[in-house]
């Protein structure tokens, strides 16, 4: 489960081309300049590649923070070791 958290963090670093020092778990979309519409596409592709879950367009466009992404994945059954 901690593995999922680590995979998730790596995924976001690569999708949004963030330096590890820039990453925080409370980041919002407005704080990530590469989280534009293409970033959303890229995020959806990455989530499918890494976690095997498809995001619907409504799910993908409704995301506004890192916590939102975690919550969507939790609802799809991905455990992050945070009960």
């Amino acid at each position: 489960m901690e593995g999922n958290r680590s995979k998730f963090r790596e995924l976001l670093l690569d999708v949004f081309l963030l330096d590890p020092s820039e990453f925080r778990w409370d980041l919002t979309r407005s704080q990530i300049d590469t989280w534009d519409s293409l970033g959303t596409v890229s995020l959806a592709v990455g989530i499918q590649d890494v976690f095997g879950h498809h995001l619907t367009p409504a799910e993908a466009t409704g995301l506004a923070s890192v916590e939102d992404i975690l919550e969507v994945l939790r609802r799809k059954g991905v455990a992050f070791g945070d009960a």
Binding site: L11, D14, L38, S42, A44, V45, G46
Partner: protein, 312 residues
Amino acid sequence: MEMREPETWPLERLLSEDLGVTAVWTTPSVQGRTAARLCFPHRTPFTELEPGTRTLIVVGGGTLIDQAKVWRRERAPSVRLIAIASLWGSGAEASPVAVTNEGGRKVIHLDPAYVPDVRVSWPELAESVSPLRARRACGDAWSHALEGFLSPLATEELRGELATLLSSMLELPIGNDTRWFEASIAACRLQAQSSVGLVHGIAHTLEGPLAAAQPEFGWGHATLCSTFLWPVLSLDTTLSPKTENLFREHGLHFVRILNAARSLFEDEAYDRALPLLEQHWNAVLRDPCTRTNSVLIRPGHLDHFRRRAFAA
């Protein structure tokens, strides 16, 4: 987006139609032949048109046609634009996409207003094209069709249309065959409804730097697409089973597709491009095309290209 298609005329109709005051813009490589057949004044591209001009005929490759599409929309929207492709590959003569070079950066424009009013079929213009240019032009069309098919933005209906196109492209020889004109137009038109991917991200990022660093080599969009299609398709396949699954689900034989991509690969071009790919990899990752690749492209994937993992 509203899809608009240009009227298609044979050359004979262009020669017999009343076009009003007309100007012709051409690329130098075909100017002799256009001057011999088209009895209209040939003007320097992108200079002001004579007052009262009703028709602009543009004859050339994708770069000139795309620039003319943008120029017409911004500078002379009431002028009828007639596009004649001198070689297949880009599909620019029928597409709502226009790619321009702005300060060394490739910018993609998408608007139905970019579609020329008429495209004229003049396949004889491509008869004298060298085998190498002909093959590279095929690579341009293959890249559009494959990346459009694999795009995460493609609908199942669009994938179905692209699968039909890909099947027909597999039956065409890689080389000088004028049937590629229609295949290229279809590839570009369909791809415009989804997106392209890493092949185009690489091509758009490296074309300028390579042309500046190695002007003797003749770098262009088609050369880069041809050279990187096989390595990228191999990477996509390695990273995710969905690439092969999509081909299978649409009745496409993956090995035949991969072999077609492989046949377009150019060793020398790859070796020349690799150092610049390494140098510009961060820009490739940020390119809008790369960000709509079928699988997520990560910083570490540069290693696939460095190690030539696709050729293993």
